[in-house]
Each structure stands twice: as C-alpha cells, then as structure tokens.
Symmetry: C3
Subunit: 294 residues, 3 copies
Amino acid sequence: MTSTGLNEDMTTTPEASWTHIALERRSRSYWRVIFDHPPVNTITATTVMELSELVELIERATELNVIVFDSANPDFFLAHYDVESDPMKTAALPAGPTGMPAWLDLTARLSRAPVVSIASIRGRARGAGSEFVLACDLRFASRERAVLGQFEVGAGFIPGGGPMARLSRLVGRGRALEILLVADDFDGLRAEQYGDVNRAIADDRLDTEIEEIAARLAQFDHDAIARTKSYVDHVTLPPDDELPAALTDFRQSFGRPGPLARLAKLEELGLNVDSDLERRLGARVVEATPQVAS
Amino acid sequence: MTSTGLNEDMTTTPEASWTHIALERRSRSYWRVIFDHPPVNTITATTVMELSELVELIERATELNVIVFDSANPDFFLAHYDVESDPMKTAALPAGPTGMPAWLDLTARLSRAPVVSIASIRGRARGAGSEFVLACDLRFASRERAVLGQFEVGAGFIPGGGPMARLSRLVGRGRALEILLVADDFDGLRAEQYGDVNRAIADDRLDTEIEEIAARLAQFDHDAIARTKSYVDHVTLPPDDELPAALTDFRQSFGRPGPLARLAKLEELGLNVDSDLERRLGARVVEATPQVAS
Amino acid sequence: MTSTGLNEDMTTTPEASWTHIALERRSRSYWRVIFDHPPVNTITATTVMELSELVELIERATELNVIVFDSANPDFFLAHYDVESDPMKTAALPAGPTGMPAWLDLTARLSRAPVVSIASIRGRARGAGSEFVLACDLRFASRERAVLGQFEVGAGFIPGGGPMARLSRLVGRGRALEILLVADDFDGLRAEQYGDVNRAIADDRLDTEIEEIAARLAQFDHDAIARTKSYVDHVTLPPDDELPAALTDFRQSFGRPGPLARLAKLEELGLNVDSDLERRLGARVVEATPQVAS
C-alpha cells in the first residue's frame, strides 16, 4: 500500500488487521483512507472500531497535515449504518477517550484533530455516512455522482450521530430541518447550494482538485494549520455534551414497534445490499410506511 | 372546506368564526391554512387572534405532522402589519402562554411546535409577513412571484417581530444587515441565494412540489419528526427573552414624530390597499422621507 | 475634497494629515473613504493609526448613516499587512478604547458603530485586507476584479485580526476552514457562493449599485438604522475577548524560524510591491515552502 518506506517500522500497527478501510500514507504530512466494505460500504461495529483506531493514529501523527477520505465504490461512499440485526453489538463497543459512545467519540475527535480532514464524496453518503462527512473539515461532492441524505426520520428513527448539531450550524435552521425531516436524497449541486458541502466539482475533475488541495496543505507549516483550526473549532463545533441525547433516542427507537416495523420492511426491500432500494433510498423510504386502515 | 368527516364533532372549534384565515384539515396528519384577508392580506389584531387560536389547535393535534401556509391572493402572501390607525388595538391583545405579547408568542410557539410548518410563498411577504414566514420551519418561494422584504427601517421603524433574531441566524450578519437596513424588496432567487428560503421553485411547480413534500411528511412517524426537530430547535431558535426588546422599540416608534410622519406619507400614497405603492413598496418606501431644506 | 461646505470648520480635523486614506464627506449622513497607499495598498502602522482616527470620527458623527470604502487602485483594494521589517512598530501602537490592540480595536468598533459600513471590493483584499472587509457590515465584490484570500497559513502565520471569529460565523465551519487553511485566492463569484460577500456585481455596475444603496440609506431615519443594527450585532458579533489570542499567536510567529524563513522568501519574490507575486499570491504562496531533503 505504500512505497515510501514510511511504514517499515509499523508492521504491528492496527491497520494491518483492518477489513473495511485502508490507509495509504503518501508522506508524513499526507494520508489517504479508502472505504472498501462491499457491497455498499455500510458502517458496522467493525467499521467503527477501525475508524476509532484510525483517529488514534491521526492524533499521534505529529507531522500530519491532511487526510483525504474516499471510496473504492463509485456508487457508495458510505451507505449508512447497519446494526447487523443486533443493535447491542454496536452499543457494546467501549466508550472512547471523550467518554462518549464510540461513534460520537471518533467523529468528535476527528473534527478536533490538528489535521485537515477532507471528504471526497462520490456515490451515496446517507445516515451515518452523511454524519461522517459532516465530521470532516472540508467536503467536496461529485457533481454527477454524489448523493447525500439523512433518511432516518423516514424510517421512524431519530438520527443519532450528530447531524442535528452539525447541520444546524452549517446550513441554518430551514435547510437543516428540510434535510432531516423531509429525509429525502439530494445531489451535489443541492448540497453546494445549501452549504452542506464546500462545493460540487465535476466528477472528472474531483480527484485532481482534491489532490491539488491536499498536496498544497501537505507543504504548509503544521503549527499554523493546527492553531488556526483550533480557533475555528472554538466557534463552530458543537459541545460534546450536546451529542449523546440524540444517540440515546436513536437506540431507543429499536424498542418501539413503529420503527422496527419500518426497518423490517426496508430490509425486506433490499436494505444493506446493492439494490434498487439502496440506490433510490430517499425516494423509496416511504415504502416503509405501514398501510393503515383509514 | 373538508370532505373527510374529520370535523364532524368540531362545529364549536374556534375556526368557524375566523375571517382572515381558513383551515383545511386534509387528514389527521396534514393541514393547510389559507390567508384570505382582502385586499392585500395585511396582518391586523384580528389576524393575530386567529393565528393564536390556530397555534393552540396545532399544539393539541397530537397526530399532526405537517401544516402548509399559502395565500388566496397570488400577489400578496401577507402584505405586512396594519395597526388600523390604533397601535393600542394590537398592544391590548392579551399575552400568550409564553408570557410574551401575542405576535411574539404565536410565532415562537409555531417554531417550537412538534410539527413541520411550511410557507408556500407566492406574492409579497413584507414586514410582519416576512416575520411570519421566518417563524415557519421550511420556506419555499415562487421563483417568479415571491417578493420578500423588511421595509420597516425605510419607514423609520424598528422591525419588532423577531427578524433580527431569526434572519441573523439564518443568513448571517452581512445579508441580514442588508435585508434589514437597506430595507428593499428581493425576489425568490435572491432569497434562495441568501439562504432566506430553502429554495425558489418555478411558479408552475411550486404547488406540486410542496404537495409532494407535505404528503411525504404526513406518512412519517410523528415522534421521529417531533424529537428530531426538537434537537434542531435547541441549536437554532433564538431564546424567547431575546425577542421583546425590539417589539418595545417598534411600539415606541409610534411616539416619535419622524416615523409617524413617514407612516402618514405612506398611507397617503396607498399603504394597506392594492396600490402601486404596495406592489413596489421596497422601491417606493423612500418617498416617505421628509423633504428637508438643505 | 468636498464642495458642500460641510468641512468649513474642520480644518483641524485629523484627516488633513492622513496619507493612506482620504475621507470625502458627501453629506452629514453619507461619507466615502478611499484607500490610496501606493503601490498596492498595504496596511501598515500608519494605516492603522489613520483608520483608528477615522473610527473615532464615525462614532462622533451623530447624523451619519452610511460610509462606503473603496480603493484608488482597481487592482488592489487592500493588499495585506506590511510590518515594514519591524513587527514592533505595529505592536507599539497604543491600545484603543476597548482595551484591545489597535487593529482589533478599530475593526471591532467599526462593526459596532451605529452606521452602515460598506466595502466596495475591486481588486485584491487579502490577509488584513480581508479582515477589514469582514469587519464592514455589507460587502459587495466586483465580479471580474475582486480577489479575496487569507494567505497567512500558507506563509506559516496564524491570521491575527479576527477572521476565524468572523468567517466562522459568516460562512460556516467547512468554508471558513477552507478559506483559512487552504489559504488560496478566491474570486467574487466564489465569495458570493460561500456567503463571504453579500453578492458579486458586474464590475461596470458595482459603483452605480453601491451608490444607489448608499443614497437610499442616507435618507433613512438614523435611530431606526442604529437600533436595528444593534440587535443584529447582539446575535452576530464575536465577543471582544475572543479576538486577542489569535493576534498574540500571529505576533509570536515572528519569533519562529519557519514563518520568518517563509516571509523572507516571499519578500525576495516581490511581497509588498506591485509584482507577479502580489497579483497571484494565493497560487504562489507555496513558493515560500522551504525545500527539504526528502
């Protein structure tokens, strides 16, 4: 994965065992991470563990300036969370250094790391996938291929990984409420217009432009990046204690018959696999609605 | 107004006596309200009373998911406030459950209600009309026919119903100051660009798109909507105690000769009726400026 | 400079001695300021002193409604700060009435003044030049000729005059981090898209449109402007005590070898004069990066 020799003394690093993400150290100041969990890059307890280990590596990399996240699957950046029929599996993950549950812990720490994190969004990033990109510092979306969305409310769930905290501050009340409550898909141009991403870039230019930005950042003074970012963090990041309540709500949804019935219906229709449902989840989430006698 | 039978046992509800707004219950989860106060949908003490009663109905409707506001007059959504030559008439309205004066009370409660409120803006929404749409959760503007504005400063008044609190958080300092201080009209595309509305929609598509959004929301789990919205409220709503000071300033303007002279001049030119002044109020509000010997 | 006679009794006002800025009193309610410090409108200790005096004049002008800032040089609005090879020269300027160092003091007071300040941005406004326009209330950018940027991080410095505080609130976390950390130039259209300026205006329309806005504001009731602005200030301005820490960081950069070496290289390449480096500083700031053996 690297030809620079930088990893020579790192054969025992955690990444050797990762199965959902791959780390490529381009240099001491520039890393890339590729999401590669077929068929649709769902996020599971395993992904959360690997990302937690990654964030620890980032925090220890004192010369690292920039880390780019992209996907091995051009149709799916990160589909969404998959509880693998066992919500306890995720709930059992140990809390992180912040004291918060693992998913909240790793996303909050990524946002505060003295490094510029960049999401290169090609394909679908919904639910926890959208939450992950919202925790990155910069977001660039493929104009033709990015699809974003927080579909949870359509499935009867409360989004648990921080999008109410992060979207409200990023795009303002009206657009945050639309994304979260109407719960539909939106493309790169809409994401750009709403301020959800920095901007949309033509798909055939996306990799080149992000490479230029990353190469530029890799040359800069690490302390200047770290200190300047810390001042922006102070103004823009939600306080940690704002985050856990919604995650508790998300988990409690699994004890309510309505959300469980909607989730079961979506699984029946093709959730978590490469299906028409997954490709058009924003439009088709309404099919989860129970038919009631009126 | 309804053919669903839902209102059968509601013949004594307040809405039977309303004269400025009409309520249409499409279903238990989806209502529509039509503003219909000829000639230009000004907001008066009567409108405020009826809207206060509406907000109480909304708060009691435990299955309601979505409420859409539109206008019977395609040229005027809600013109602006009309004190009917007697500012005391409005000031005498009883305070609401929040303890705030009626207009602040009902708009703050609408924003916090566990329901998605949608403003379908066709025609002019200025002054208190703009304040009302800012209190709604989602705003969609007709690309060709929406006109928004806070003209008050041009008439010598301080906007009193919360736009400094709401616009500042929605569109940022620079654009909020422009809307409030330059006090000119702006159209749907500018409103979209500034983030004042979610987006502008071609006029011949506006009703269809809002109907699709409302029908979608009507099918969703009520608790998921209510809980998710509450987290966004926590981050984005102004605290109630930020609101009353500007309303006091607005009312005190009626004791100052400058604003009174400007208001008298605007009334002479056609304020509150369907006139060229009302149609082009942003441009013509400068005619309220007293001519001084220089 | 004025033919209105308004300055007749003002021959002893500070502006007579100014050499970097010129004040034109169009009327009691409307002033214009022209930046004119060849060759590229750098900001030096002298500029800071003159702007401090200007802000004091603004605060005393009880009938002033609007002040427009533009540049005598269509290629450079305000290049950026120039410490004139002596950082102490600026640090020695007396603190202002807020207790903050002069640059923070005058920009914070300009933002709070009961007057609408408008930046008419034609040419480059980088570093402290960008900080100055961010302290103005309204910003309009020439579509063809405006260039904005915070290049400091590219040169190894922490921006010290408030852009982390002001940009974060104006354009949101993602775009603020991009502007500050990627540290590249951006044009008027990008500034409009990101919300950094109110809007971009075709260069041949810029002067006319700003003149129309200023003339309009000049006619309005001063108290209505002042009171309305104060409520927006309350929501949108950073607290003064958020500002000094980053300025301390900026100053400490001059004691670190990395930033000093980058700055020396930029000076060698043409910083502070009308050079290709100054014209394309966003692209060329990477040339400040020391070459290291890899």
